[in-house]
């Protein structure tokens, strides 16, 4: 019983603030951990990375080794990393890097360090912030309310099939596809079947969380020629389980819901803006009480909402 949320703003603004509100209203659905995926104004070149190291005593060594992985692929830091350390064992880093020769090959190299330091998001626009604790805890610790962007996702996690760890929190980045992130409420019952198939194609997973798998599954379908709409529809008949997931790209947020109609999604979509959440009471935190909501309560449903601001920025 996790809680998920999505938000699209008409123009770039305090999307972080809205996502915190959406998740704060759903804290009762899972307070093991909370996470946010924020899509800022996209860079023309270079990637923003968010990463997590698991032993802050090793911070300097980790970052030296990580920087070496960048240089192996002809890229480097474009600015000094912003490092967050506190009372936890782990630490979090935000970096901006130049374009590697091949992003998939670089992340493969970087992942050789994943037992010490893992990249949790990579994109021209995407930044994933996630940690143990409630929405307010994570927001305060990581400054999420001040994050500016056009759209984003939020997640409150009630851990079921994998551990309560900072890096097992949602959202998940669809490794190695830049700017793709997912939040998910549900359980995938053929997880190991799909994981084996995707691993045979060369994909790597850093957790045993089924949400991480769906993100890669959808991205792989799109890599093989399906549109997002087609991939989302296909997920309903291909992936077994009960689920509602939202997957975001640089220009949009899509969602899919299983055939058994067990996991809710409520939206208000008007005037180029979207507020979506598991529960209507969350949506009401960011839109007026009088706005009409749409309940995606039925079985086997999909939709995609586009960011007008990202479209304008790309034009």
């Amino acid at each position: 019983m996790c809680g998920i949320a999505g938000r699209i703003l008409k123009t770039a603004g305090k999307v972080g603030h809205d996502l915190v509100e959406l998740m704060d209203a759903q804290e009762h659905r899972g307070s093991d951990s909370t996470g946010f995926a924020v899509y800022g104004v996209p860079r023309e070149s270079g990637y923003v990375l968010r990463g997590m190291g698991f032993d802050k005593a090793q911070l300097d060594t980790d970052l030296d080794d990580f920087r070496h992985s960048l240089k192996q692929h002809n890229c480097d830091l474009l600015e000094e990393p912003a490092i967050l350390t506190n009372q936890d064992d782990h630490y979090c880093v935000r970096m901006v890097i130049s374009d590697p020769d091949d992003i998939a090959r670089w992340i493969e190299t970087a992942d050789t360090l994943a037992d010490r330091f893992e990249v949790q998001s990579c994109g021209r626009s995407l930044e994933i912030v996630k940690d143990i604790g409630s929405s307010e805890d994570v927001a305060e610790k990581h400054g999420v309310r001040d994050m500016i962007g056009t759209h984003g996702l939020g997640h409150a996690r009630l851990a079921t099939e994998s551990s309560v760890l900072p890096n097992a929190s949602h959202p998940f980045w669809a490794r190695p596809f830049p700017d793709v992130a997912i939040v998910h409420n549900g359980q995938i019952t053929d997880y190991y079947t799909w994981r084996a198939k995707l691993e045979r194609k060369g994909y790597r997973f850093l957790t045993y969380n089924d949400s991480e798998l769906i993100a890669v599954w959808v991205s792989d379908q799109m890599k093989n020629g399906l549109t997002m709409d087609q991939a989302l529809r296909k997920s309903i008949s291909s992936i077994d389980g009960v689920f509602t997931f939202m997957i975001a790209q640089m220009d949009s947020i899509g969602f899919a819901k299983d055939r058994f109609a067990m996991k809710p999604l409520v939206t208000v979509h008007a005037d180029d803006e979207l507020a979506a959440a598991t529960e209507e009471q969350a949506v009401r935190r960011v839109v007026a009480d009088g706005a009409d909501v749409y309940n995606y309560d039925g079985p086997a449903l999909t939709n995609i909402w586009y960011s007008a601001a990202q479209k304008a920025a790309a034009a």
Binding site: A261, P264, E279, E280, V293, N295, G298, P299
Partner: protein, 230 residues
């Protein structure tokens, strides 16, 4: 009966419900304002109580109702009137999944559509829906009537027991172990008697009454043919 406005906002719901109970105990009608679609509003209200929700309500509004009259101006979230024993709940708009789940008596009147599994496991009472009932509505309903004036979604009346699902309008598909039967004039009169106080009686409706096929009632796993029949 005078009206007392109770602001909900971000207050603790237990505190709001205590104020609702105290207000109806003193004989006043409750008006809930600024609800922000919060959950669990007006649970277990007693006979004779009256409550009106301005805007929408979240999950389980009017649950365990014991004779109260509750109106929700706009939408209700999942489980409106869950396990209610008696009374009347009116939802002005849409009612989310499992509306009237396990209800024992009373009437729920939804002016819009409902989500999936409307009346799931209901054990009595009536649910009247002016719009369409969602996927798998009537699932394992043991007693009572679900009356849908605007049609039904997929898998209608799936695994129904002794409840009845009445539909005027299109049905997406039938669930397992369901039979569609021609209602008698007496049965139609019974349904009209439910609809009439709501101003919804219309003799021109083409009713389809769904009851259990009873093949799952005594099902044994050894009887594989029974599954194949279904």
């Amino acid at each position: 009966m005078s009206e007392v406005v109770i602001e909900v906002g971000k207050r603790h719901i237990r505190e709001v419900n205590e104020e609702i109970q105290a207000t109806v105990a003193s004989g006043d009608k409750v008006i809930l304002r600024n609800t922000l679609s919060r959950h669990n509003l007006g649970i277990g209200l007693p006979d004779g109580a009256q409550m009106h929700v301005e805007g929408s309500a979240g999950y389980y509004c009017g649950g365990l109702n014991n004779g109260a009259s509750i109106t929700i101006e706009r939408n209700a979230g999942w489980g409106a009137g869950e396990a209610m024993a008696s009374g009347h709940i009116t939802v002005g708009g849409y009612a989310g999944m499992s509306c009237g789940a396990a209800m024992l008596g009373g009437t729920i009147h939804v002016k819009g559509d409902t989500g999936p599994r409307c009346g799931v496991a209901m054990k009595g009472g009536n649910i009247v829906v002016e719009g369409k009932i969602g996927y798998q509505s009537g699932f394992m309903a043991h007693a009572g009537k679900i009356i849908a004036l605007g049609g039904a979604g997929e898998s209608c009346a799936d695994a129904l027991w002794e409840g009845e699902v009445w539909v005027a309008g299109d049905i997406g598909s039938l669930g397992v172990d369901v039979e569609v039967v021609e209602p008698t004039a007496e049965e139609v009169a019974d349904v009209d008697a439910i609809l009439s106080p709501l101003g919804l009686q219309d003799s021109s409706r083409n009713w389809r009454k769904m009851i259990s096929g009873q093949r799952l009632w005594y099902f044994e796993s050894r009887d594989a043919n029974a599954w194949l029949m279904i």
